[in-house]
Symmetry: C2
Subunit: 414 residues, 2 copies
């Protein structure tokens, strides 16, 4: 079954705004066994919209329209569908009543143009929208002699997504052949994408019934495995078989078998070991702390740390001896190690992490290029050190460095 998603709204034809709902809708449609073969973005002009709807009906079985259901003159989706399929509309009394009730709870009189949100296409089923004023519509119709399904959804993500999930998915499942999806997400850190692919391609290409997607992002690889079978068990078994083979191949690059983020895994491992962590960050400037504290409950294992941007702070907050900095430079193995030990001592954490490097674009010197970063991790017994040189702009170097730092903690705790 093929579908087209049409996002309606002139703002999505500017340089500043993008349709994002369609990613969610695609995931859900795929689950139900529907392929997305086209996506179209069209402005708030009825002629353009009618043409786009007719094109979509001519080339797919299911057409999903998002947006253009509001009360303003620019909201033309209902009218355009009516024109494209030569349908009439009726004003639904119960929707009008609901619009009045909604306006009353906001203690305002309902503007008269709001009434158009109660217009229902001939033959359509109204899909209630608990999060907004415009309901969706589900229309089983005929175009060019073929049966077609049209779904009209509100544009705001907080209305579109729950409505689609609650109202459309059960209806789609009831009309499409039963099918069961199994999905797994594996994640690996600090393995180059090309290396991951040459390790994994010989494996996943033999699993022709499992769809494998590889997403790579600054030191992080996500492998999304998806399989559809007549039973849930059969689908799960194939996904698990492939996952197991991939896990083996990825060895210790693998950090998650079910999609958790690296910061979540680090916190899980710290919790498991009853250990705590503190960080002293120079070039990453708080990025590592920020990633860890983005996880709810992180305070159980993460004590905090210092952002030691200036040399004085490296000394006053993390106890790095000034002459160490003078001798080796702020970006050096020695200073990274002193940061790690120092922050560990000052905070009483089980593990202390130190990061110092050159994020650029300025700050390079003889033998110390932009992208050079020293990492150190201290426990009660010793201090490990890693040196890496990353490529890219300031933002990218900082992202890579934060990923490497978290991965170092993970490897220590494994």
């Amino acid at each position: 079954m093929k579908s087209e998603i049409i996002a309606v709204g002139s703002e999505m034809l500017t340089p500043w705004r993008q349709d994002t709902n369609s990613l969610f809708l695609t995931e859900k449609l795929n689950e139900a066994g529907v392929t997305v073969t086209f996506k179209t973005i069209v402005g708030d002009r009825q002629r353009d919209l009618v043409g786009a709807i007719r094109n979509a009906l001519g080339r797919t079985d299911i057409v999903i329209l998002m947006g253009g259901l509001g009360p303003t003159e620019d909201d033309l989706t209902r009218e355009a569908v009516a024109e494209a399929l030569a349908l009439t509309m009726r004003r639904d009394a119960s929707i009008v009543a609901a619009l009045h009730a909604r306006a009353a709870t906001w203690r305002i009189a309902m503007p008269s143009n709001n009434h158009k949100q109660a217009d229902v296409l001939q033959g359509a089923t109204v899909l209630p929208n608990p999060n907004g004023s415009a309901p969706g519509q589900w229309l089983d119709s005929v175009f060019g002699g073929y049966r077609k399904l049209l779904i009209l959804l509100p544009g705001p993500p907080n209305e579109c997504k729950p409505l689609f999930e609650a109202e459309c998915m059960p209806r789609l499942r009831s009309i499409l052949p039963a099918r069961h999806i199994a999905r797994r997400t594996l994640r690996a850190a600090m393995i180059p994408e090309s290396q991951a692919d040459s390790l994994l391609a010989p494996i996943y290409t033999t699993f022709t019934d499992v769809e494998t997607t590889i997403l790579a992002h600054t030191g992080d690889i996500q492998l999304i495995l998806l399989c559809a079978k007549p039973t849930a068990e059969a689908a799960q078994q194939r996904v698990d078989e492939l996952a197991e083979r991939m896990e083996e191949a990825l060895d210790d690059y693998l950090y998650s078998s079910s999609g958790e983020t690296l910061e979540q895994i680090v916190l899980d491992l710290l919790g498991l070991r009853n250990a705590t962590l503190a960080v002293a960050e120079s070039c990453t400037g708080g990025l590592v702390a920020q990633r860890i504290t983005s996880v709810s409950g992180s305070s159980r294992s993460f004590l905090g740390g210092a952002v030691v941007y200036s040399n004085d702070l490296k000394t006053s907050m993390a106890g790095v001896a000034p002459d160490l900095i003078a001798r080796h430079g702020a970006v050096s193995a020695e200073v990274a190690q002193a940061l790690a030990s120092g922050i560990r001592q000052r905070t009483g954490a089980t593990l202390g992490l130190g990061i110092t490097g050159i994020a650029g674009p300025t700050g390079a010197s003889e033998g110390k290029p932009v992208g050079l970063v020293h990492f150190a991790l201290a426990d009660a017994h010793n201090v490990e050190h890693v040196e890496r040189t990353f490529r890219g702009d300031r933002d990218r170097i900082r992202q890579w460095a934060a990923q490497q730092a978290l991965d170092m903690v993970r490897r220590k705790l494994m």
Copy 2:
């Protein structure tokens, strides 16, 4: 002049990847006086692609195709354009030579399927691509009796964007009426979007020749003003007139008249005052430090700070008295003030910033809801305090809090 952008690639019809080039292309096309009236995303199937190209040629003047120019069997854009317009292709000897030379610099033999990248559509001009192997093509053609322009671009953003800028913009400017664009971006912090719009709408609606776009994002408002006139001076004058009126209306909510970020402005003001800043963050967990240090050169004015997630660290790193925490709780005006004064003293910074709050979803208590955040800013003479309660999830509350914290520093320095 109307255009359609067609992004080619099955990966953009999955739940995981999105076209982003079109935002850049839209900005450039608008500058040249071309409107984008449709965007279409189509997979790597020749039939679908031919249909999409014909649709686009039927409804717009300029059709821009991105992607599908590579060497694989899935790369079908050239073939689809040839079929849609019934054109032949010729294999260009100089492109073949360039492909061989490129392969030689990588010390590999050129795979034979790479040759298809040298296929040039009948009547097309080759657009050199210094960043990749597939050149672009510029095709002045006729469809349905009308003159149409087709532009074929490579898909990777680092190839597509510079090629469009260098090769297509001058050509577009030479065939389209001369037009001069002026643009200004104003930015304001911590003003509700509805309040900004009710302040500004009466002003910008009277400037019908300037296009105003309002983008809102967790405590940050961007106003993008755009005007096209026959001369650059006339366009600039109108944009500046509107900007001046808006600046007045926004008063001290305005922080930038030319698009700088809030962290950049804070650093500029610190530099101007010869002042330094240090931060002690609890609920924002390094987010403020991270935003500031994302700016190159921030080390001149930003010393660093402490991420004091645990109560012990509030004491050991920022000198907050334990009995103050015991008496008022970690999330209190008193602790925020002690954090600000403490970090200021310990680092010797001109200004010390303290942030403590409940990012949620857990951690609320009697009278202290999720979203409550206390901010304090200390200088040599006194400590200011602000209390705010933000709505939303953990991520949103942290984003709002970081924005409020930076805005507090900005207002102090103004």
